[in-house]
Symmetry: C2
Subunit: 136 residues, 2 copies
DNA sequence: AATTGAAATGCAACAGGATTGCAAATTTAC
DNA sequence: GTAAATTTGCAATCCTGTTGCATTTCAATT
């Protein structure tokens, strides 16, 4: 992995403010996808809207991607190195109905779907639900 | 298609109340998936919670299925005839980023995914985003 | 037809997450 | 050092989903 959070941010031309470094560190230390609320709680006394905007910035710069796992709370996970948030980087996600954890299935790439005539593909959100290995 | 909404409801052993018939008619007349709010608006002065519970009943009886298309509002669409809401009936959905319509891609069935060791499949939500045929 | 019990409805209120406006603070450029 | 731009914090709001409870409707039974 790359160096510090600050370095990673600068590399993407994002001002490495304290908040951003903290949020990025959390995302980097978390193996699974996490929600805004979870980030908030891990940080302690931070402002939700600031974290919200930080995550927005990260998404716009392909540092993280968002996952709608159906729980109502959007989750976020770090992009892989070299990710350009294009079709080739799209992968499925797994939501464990027991522990509530959402995992990137980076090996389960999403291939360009066959669509009806006239339909145009842009992106996709594929969430598989079940019980994860830890919960069995 | 089967006869009246009332007949369809009775066939599923659901009391065909006025509300239920109205909601079912809307769902049957709508080619695309619609949200609770849209149903509410099409009906006029009805109570949200009643429609909500009606939709819940319909889901429990495999009359409709719900789709989380990432807009924040859950949408609902009529099940096909013979649907038993099992794996074999799972299909992808298409969300148009221009008009906001969500369409069932009934031909695009979801096949049992290959998961990492120890992971157990239950269900899946696959939403493809792009521009629909009408919006090009 | 009246009584009773169950189911359905309407109303109100609330919960949770996402999002915005605005002012204060911080950073950057000149 | 000052002005402009960016970022942050706070408060408020929107939107959707959901529940509690009293009332109404319906169906079965006497």
């Amino acid at each position: 992995m790359l160096g510090s959070a600050a370095e990673l941010l600068e590399q993407k031309n994002i001002k490495p403010t304290a908040m951003r470094q903290l949020v990025l560190d959390i995302l980097r230390n978390n193996p699974q996808a996490i929600s805004l609320l979870e980030i908030e709680q891990q940080l302690g006394h931070v402002d939700r809207s600031t974290v919200f905007r930080t995550l927005k910035t990260f998404q716009e710069n392909c540092i993280i991607h968002k996952i709608d796992d159906g729980t109502g709370a959007t989750k976020f996970a770090l992009c892989s190195e070299g990710c350009s948030c294009n079709l080739g980087d799209l992968h499925a996600h797994f939501y464990c109905t027991k522990c509530g954890q959402t995992t990137c299935l980076k090996d389960h790439l999403i291939e360009q779907p066959v669509l009806p005539e006239g339909f145009n593909f842009e992106s996709a959100n594929y969430v598989i639900k079940g019980i994860c290995a830890d919960c069995r």
